[in-house]
Symmetry: C2
Subunit: 150 residues, 2 copies
């Protein structure tokens, strides 16, 4: 089992970051504009990507939401390599920053798609940072392109 | 042992990417302007970062260079967590892209510093892509700041 790990710091309150991780408007502002569903614990969120090859999105079951502290999802539909993996956001405060410790845990093998997703997650977390700090993120389809796999 | 993995695609030849990974001018154009040493196999490269707390840089021994295909370094001096880890760039061609499969291998533990370095590597690999595609990267001290740890 291998994990994708990232850390970003956002000059804002943990409450603002938490809102961007649990509301549909917030999520649509940094990951993909085509987001629907329910971001509260027990809900399922549908993330869709128009430009990606099928299966062109992810369904996340929200396993845990701890206001201003933690969000945990499990992938229940999407690319085969993602199903059953978990995505975790841990929030803490340091100096003037809300620190996001991100992990995408439980990949069975370090396949090339995992290399791609690792870099892509970094660009989306920078989009989250930008959304909260400036009011404007870079969600799909306006996301940063990193390669022939988008 | 845990690894940092990334994948970017650069619209250029493998030779151009290889040059940016093995010449001091190339490396100084995307990672840190304060780069010195010898990027050929058997050499040691000194990367320094003015704004980082001490130890403020890395010494890499170049273990392997395969033109247009592979570069492998081992960290011989720097932060304790980095010493003995290896950094690998594997180059292949797909469509109009040179694909860089990057790994920073052999971390003993997934410490918070590893989360930080994972995100930071992504931004530096995007700087490598930008350098080669546009002629201008974002090396330190002009690198993208991701948090209170820079």
């Amino acid at each position: 089992m291998v994990d994708i790990l990232h850390r970003v710091g956002i000059t804002s309150s943990p409450d603002d970051v938490y809102a961007a991780l649990t509301t549909i408007d917030g999520l649509a502002g940094w990951w993909t504009q085509d987001t629907a569903g329910d971001g509260d614990a027990g809900g399922v969120i549908q993330f869709r990507f128009q430009n990606a090859p099928p299966p062109s999105g992810f369904d996340m079951k929200v396993l845990e939401t701890q206001p201003a502290e933690r969000v945990l999802w499990e992938v229940v539909d999407g690319p085969q390599e993602w199903i059953g993996t978990q995505i975790r956001f841990e929030l803490t405060q340091e100096d003037d920053f809300t620190i996001v410790l991100f992990s995408h845990e439980g990949w069975k093998e370090p396949v090339k798609f995992m290399y791609h997703c690792s870099t892509k997650w970094a660009t989306f977390l920078m989009s989250l940072k930008r959304l909260i700090e400036t009011g404007k993120g870079e969600p799909a389809p306006h996301d940063v392109k990193i390669s022939n796999w988008h």
